[in-house]
């Protein structure tokens, strides 16, 4: 009961922060800029913590520990350290320029910049459709995660449909009323919670287990678990492929749009320096705890998982697919950190964990707002809505879009199996990584053209569908599909641009 109370208290705090705490009586900029971009006036700490929080999803706390539980220390190198280098690097080179172009030309979305930079209209709409289609699964996963987490934290007291509805309502409310400012402050609060949670959980669990050295020695002593402390089960090429995935971050519309919210470009300085340290502070405890959980063989729920993993490894190729899926579910380690806390932590900390999990699963707020911004700017305003009805109606349209999108996502979450959207999210990462050449070409290459951009957008759409529907598609030479997808994307941008007419010199000059 205490964890449930703490989680509902957390939801109430989030609602207060998002709607009331940082509301301005009068917009500091135009009404649309104020709602969608927080008036381009976020300060350095909110910019850093919110940008980081926007990138942290349920996967960070639960999924990373689960992945490490099954695969070992490789998880950190695959997902954390590669992001710690590539993401700040892209923020440094691309984010700062995006910010400057947004300031200079008044852009609020990446598609607005593409349309202006490449003197195109409908090609921008094609890019909008590809971006939006890749973003929607995240929003649905967020609602599903909310329902599942609330049901688990309350011990089934709150059913899935109600948990999903509560989380969707809370997110919708602060996005609706607070816009970017409310969302940014909620994300800041959530990041502080993440950062505190990792360290506390590590200390409490470490003490409870009788110290980590003993746990590691026990893992090393068993031939079954010793490989989890090395990367011998993974090929170096597979490991290398993962360095392409963080390219997706800067291409995600909610991140690109967030880059436009900084008051000054100097805000990026602190962000790029501290970003790798924030990743270290959150991922290292989660990955380490996930690996260490393998030593808790005397805890029945962990022992069951290890048994299922053994059965899966020994299963013949002819094993019934449903039985295999069932074994996979039993072996999955997404709940190992909650189990460890349940075992070793006091009740109040379990409640804190519940709030931390809620913070993670509520990461869909930025995506909802980004999609609303894109719809109102790239479709409503572009096709004459703003000129005809004015800026106030444009903002109200954005708010209405937030409501409709949340309701649709909730209805889909009630009916569709989560596995479909889990997969869709995985492919979306590759898709966005392969879209990154669009930003690079628009900001750095004068000779790039709209036809090159169209070729990239169509290729990414086709490649995502192909890899999602065909086993082993584009997995060349043991690399993950993201590598050929991104390289071909870049090659298409260059080759198609070189054989087509570039934009006018006046336009190019505005981007120098």
């Amino acid at each position: 009961m205490i964890p449930a109370v703490l989680v509902f208290a957390y939801l109430a705090i989030v609602l207060y922060i998002g709607i009331f705490a940082f509301r301005h009586a009068r917009p500091v900029a135009g009404e649309a800029e104020d709602y969608f971009l927080a008036g381009r006036a976020l300060g350095p700490m909110v910019f850093l913590l919110s940008l980081f929080g926007t990138n942290m999803t349920a996967f960070t706390i639960l999924g990373s520990a689960g992945h490490a539980f099954a695969n070992g220390v490789v998880t950190f190198g695959l997902m954390a350290s590669s992001s710690a280098f590539i993401i700040p690097l892209t923020l440094f080179f691309i984010g700062t320029r995006m910010w400057a172009m947004g300031r200079r030309h008044g852009f609020m979305t990446p598609v607005q910049m593409f349309r202006d930079r490449w003197e195109c209209g409908h090609i921008g709409t094609v890019i909008f459709v590809v971006q939006a289609a890749l973003l929607v699964p995240y929003i649905i996963i967020g609602v599903m995660g909310g329902g599942t987490a609330l049901r688990a934290i309350t011990g089934g007291l709150v059913p899935y449909w109600l948990g999903g509805a509560v989380v969707a309502m809370v997110v919708m409310s602060y996005v609706f009323f607070g816009g970017m400012r409310g969302t940014a402050w909620v994300n800041t609060f959530q990041t502080v919670l993440f950062l505190s949670f990792g360290a506390i959980a590590l200390i409490v669990i470490g003490r409870g287990m009788g110290g980590f050295p003993a746990a590691m020695q026990s893992l090393l002593a068993s031939p079954e678990t010793a490989p989890l402390l090395t990367r011998e089960r993974f090929s170096p090429l597979f490991f290398l492929s993962y360095t392409f995935i963080p390219l997706s971050t800067i291409a995600f519309p909610h991140i690109t749009i967030f880059c436009l919210t900084a008051r000054r470009m100097a805000q990026f300085r602190r962000t790029v320096v501290f970003y790798p340290l924030c990743i270290l502070a959150i991922w290292l405890p989660c990955v380490f705890l996930g690996v260490a959980a393998n030593s808790m063989r005397d805890v029945p729920r962990i022992a069951q998982k290890l048994e299922a993993r053994r059965a899966l490894a020994a299963a013949p190729a002819s094993l019934d697919p449903e039985e295999r899926a069932s074994l996979r579910r039993q072996a999955a380690g997404d709940d190992v950190v909650p189990i460890m806390l349940e075992q070793y932590a006091p009740l109040w900390l379990a409640g804190m964990l519940g709030a931390g999990i809620m913070a993670a699963v509520m990461a869909s707020d930025s995506q909802i707002l980004a999609l609303s911004t894109m719809f109102t700017e790239d479709v409503f305003a572009f096709y004459g809505g703003k000129a005809r009805f004015g800026e106030h109606v444009q903002v109200q349209t954005g708010r209405l879009f937030v409501v409709i999108l949340t309701i649709v996502a909730y209805l889909i979450a009630l009916r569709a199996p989560q596995s479909i959207f889990d997969l869709a999210v995985q492919y979306a990462f590759s898709g966005y990584a392969a879209l990154s050449p669009l930003l690079i070409a628009a900001l750095f290459w004068k000779r790039s053209t709209k036809w090159g951009a169209l070729a990239v957008a169509l290729w990414v759409a086709a490649a995502v569908i192909y890899t999602a529907t065909t086993t082993g598609a584009l997995a060349w030479f043991g690399l993950m599909p993201v590598v050929p997808m991104t390289i071909i994307s870049g090659a298409l941008m260059v080759s198609v641009s070189l054989i087509t007419q570039p934009p006018s010199t006046a336009t190019i000059a505005r981007y120098s």
């Binding site: 220390v73 190198g77 350290s81 710690a84 280098f85 590691m216 011998e232 470009m265 290292l284």
Partner: protein, 88 residues
């Protein structure tokens, strides 16, 4: 295109600016290559601080190295020219 454009390096001669660009680009490429630490691929030992497998400790240190490189980039290659709005 030179990536060195920070106000801190304005006083440098073109040759030194070019050299700085090469050093920074080489640092970026080196750090990228260092992610692929095949030398710790098949070993867990030594356990750093008595409990961190060496590969995990290496990648934790890698995050700190990334932070240091970002600090160097913001000091030596900060694109200050982008902060000035040409419309003003």
């Amino acid at each position: 295109m030179s990536i060195v454009a920070a106000k801190e390096t304005e006083h440098l001669s073109p040759a030194r600016t070019a050299a700085m660009t090469v050093v920074l680009l080489a640092s970026i490429l080196t750090l990228y290559a260092l992610h692929q630490d095949f030398w710790f691929w098949r070993t867990a030992r030594p356990l750093v601080f008595g409990f961190l497998p060496v590969a995990l400790a290496y990648h934790a240190a890698y995050c700190i190295a990334a932070s240091v490189l970002m600090w160097a980039l913001t000091r030596l290659a900060w694109p200050s020219h982008l902060e000035e709005d040409p419309r003003r």
